[in-house]
């Protein structure tokens, strides 16, 4: 019974972690321009992240190491420094984009320009990290995140042609805007397969003191949680296709177009629901990414860490998230367009994947760490596939950014 409760809480948490400014923006853009054609990218990204999150959780539960600990220990500092720098940089961009997402929601709600909201938003993120516990952040914020289910409700109420949606779930070639199509596919994959997600998840396993008895629960949480998250992303894509695309809005390059999505279904409340969903999803993600920056540095250098400690008991750890949050607010405060930043950082996330995913192949097959709970054939095949995908993405991202991103 207790495990069941824990699993359902975990699932809700994972949904909260999955949906953020990147998945909303990329799914909306893809739906508006290509209809249901890119559903496969969401599905593929979701399957990949299910495998990685399950492995990160299993690694933490069995070895009592986080992924960052594992990479440093197994490969040494000289190798660890590359994924460390790449993840710190990509997370910085993503954190900035999430703060931008909350700031846009605040602008839509009040009419005051988003750049004025960057620092207040950063302050609230910081305050919650400063005063809150891991449980509060993990469970409280993600409960609120359930409001994003409104996208699924809206998608069903629009009565899409489900056969057409299913056809889009199979990879297919574009009929127009080829470069843009592939760039969108890369961005969607980057938004779904986020390194911060699985690294944060393994830190969470340690914070919640997981042990071997959690292996089953971990599998359920990873599978169900990420599937629900992916389901909501598909919901966003369907709504964007049927509302924006059908009304001739094919280029979502201005965030003011986004709240129109829910209005035909829910009227004025659709506007409110969109703004609240965007604010909560991005705020939750900002908390997680900022914490992940501190986890990464503290675990990488072996400092005392833990969100349940008081800041004075882990000053180094607290300093890292404090600096991360306020530095990430600067580009938004200076007026950098959050939507452009989001799409850019999602593509860059995809390009950075090999650095963080290759270690999985070694860590999850090393019986020093996972003993009898090593990867099976299917998990290993999945990691190898994700690594190959990661290398392809890393190669094509920059050219696609130039030809399809602008």
């Amino acid at each position: 019974m207790k495990k069941l409760l824990e699993i359902s809480l975990g699932v809700v948490t994972s949904v909260g972690g999955f949906l953020e400014v990147g998945s909303i923006a990329t799914a909306a853009q893809a739906g508006a321009l290509f209809g249901f054609q890119l559903v496969w990218a969401v599905v593929l990204g979701t399957i990949c992240i299910i495998f990685l999150v399950e492995m990160a959780g299993r690694f933490a539960a069995v070895s009592h190491h986080t992924i960052a600990d594992g990479i440093r220990e197994r490969f040494g500092f000289n190798a660890f420094i590359w994924p460390l720098l790449a993840a710190l940089f990509v997370n910085f961009l993503v954190l900035s984009a999430e703060i931008g997402g909350v700031a846009i929601a605040a602008e839509l709600a009040t009419g005051i320009g988003f750049q004025w909201w960057a620092l207040p938003v950063a302050f609230f993120v910081w305050l919650l990290l400063w005063k809150g516990t891991f449980g509060l952040i993990e469970k409280g914020m993600s409960m609120l995140g359930l409001v994003t289910l409104c996208f699924v409700v809206a998608a069903v109420m629009l009565h899409p042609d489900w056969k057409e949606v299913a056809t889009g779930a199979v990879p297919n070639l574009p009929q127009h805007d080829t470069a843009k199509y592939w760039f969108m596919a890369v961005s969607i994959l980057g938004a779904s397969i986020s390194p911060y997600l699985f690294m944060f998840y393994s830190s969470g396993g340690i914070e919640d003191q997981w042990d071997k008895t959690y292996i089953g629960a971990n599998r359920a949480i990873a599978g169900l949680g990420m599937s629900f998250g992916g389901g909501i992303s598909v919901g966003v894509l369907i709504v964007a296709a049927l509302v924006l695309g059908a009304h001739g809005v094919t280029q979502v390059d201005d965030y003011n177009q986004l709240p129109l999505m829910l209005i035909p279904i829910f009227g004025f409340w659709g506007f409110v629901l969109f703004v609240v969903s965007l604010a909560i999803a991005c705020f939750g993600a900002a908390l997680e990414v900022a914490l992940q920056q501190a986890y990464l540095v503290a675990q990488g250098f072996g400092w005392t860490w833990g969100e349940d400690l008081k800041p004075r008991d882990d000053p180094g750890f607290s300093l890292v998230y404090t600096l991360s949050v306020f530095l990430a607010a600067v580009p938004i405060a200076l007026g950098l367009d959050p939507l452009k930043l989001t799409i850019f950082s999602m593509a860059l996330t995809a390009a950075s994947l090999p650095l963080t995913v290759v270690p999985f192949l070694f860590l999850l097959n090393d019986d020093h760490y996972v003993g009898e709970h090593c990867n099976g054939v299917i998990s290993n095949a999945a990691v190898i596939f994700i690594i190959a995908l990661g290398f392809v993405l890393a190669l094509v991202t920059i050219p696609l950014q130039i030809f399809g991103g602008a």
Binding site: F77, R312, G316
Partner: protein, 119 residues
């Protein structure tokens, strides 16, 4: 036991289980006609800098010297005979409060973090 695989880069804790750093370097003693012997582990940015190369090592030493106001700086060392347990972490029979390893964290607590309300 293999030094590089099982010791280097592992988490170090003191006798109160406080996480104090990673094994950033190993110090071995060369003996005549006998195999070399590990006498200490090194922790901290100077040891880490040296891992990356001679130049980053010198930079780290210079930076630490500037920040701490001392002329000469060396990496923190913990004698190998203080080791108590090697498991998920390596436990040494020391109290981190009696070393200088956390001097920067203490400074941070006193001058920055501790001054912010609610810390």
């Amino acid at each position: 036991m293999q030094l590089l695989r099982d010791i280097l880069d592992k988490q170090v804790v003191d006798r109160e289980q406080v996480k104090i750093g990673k094994v950033d370097g190993l110090v071995a003693e060369l003996r005549q006609a006998k195999p070399p012997r590990v006498i200490a582990v090194e922790l901290g940015s100077i040891a880490l800098g040296r891992r990356l190369g001679a130049v980053p090592g010198r930079w780290a030493a210079r930076l630490v010297a500037r920040l701490s106001g001392k002329r000469q700086t060396r990496p923190h060392r913990i004698a190998w005979n203080k080791v108590r347990d090697i498991g998920v972490d390596i436990e040494f029979d020391i109290d981190v409060r009696q070393t200088k390893i956390f001097a920067w964290q203490d400074w941070l607590r006193e001058h920055v973090i501790g001054r912010i309300p609610g810390a």
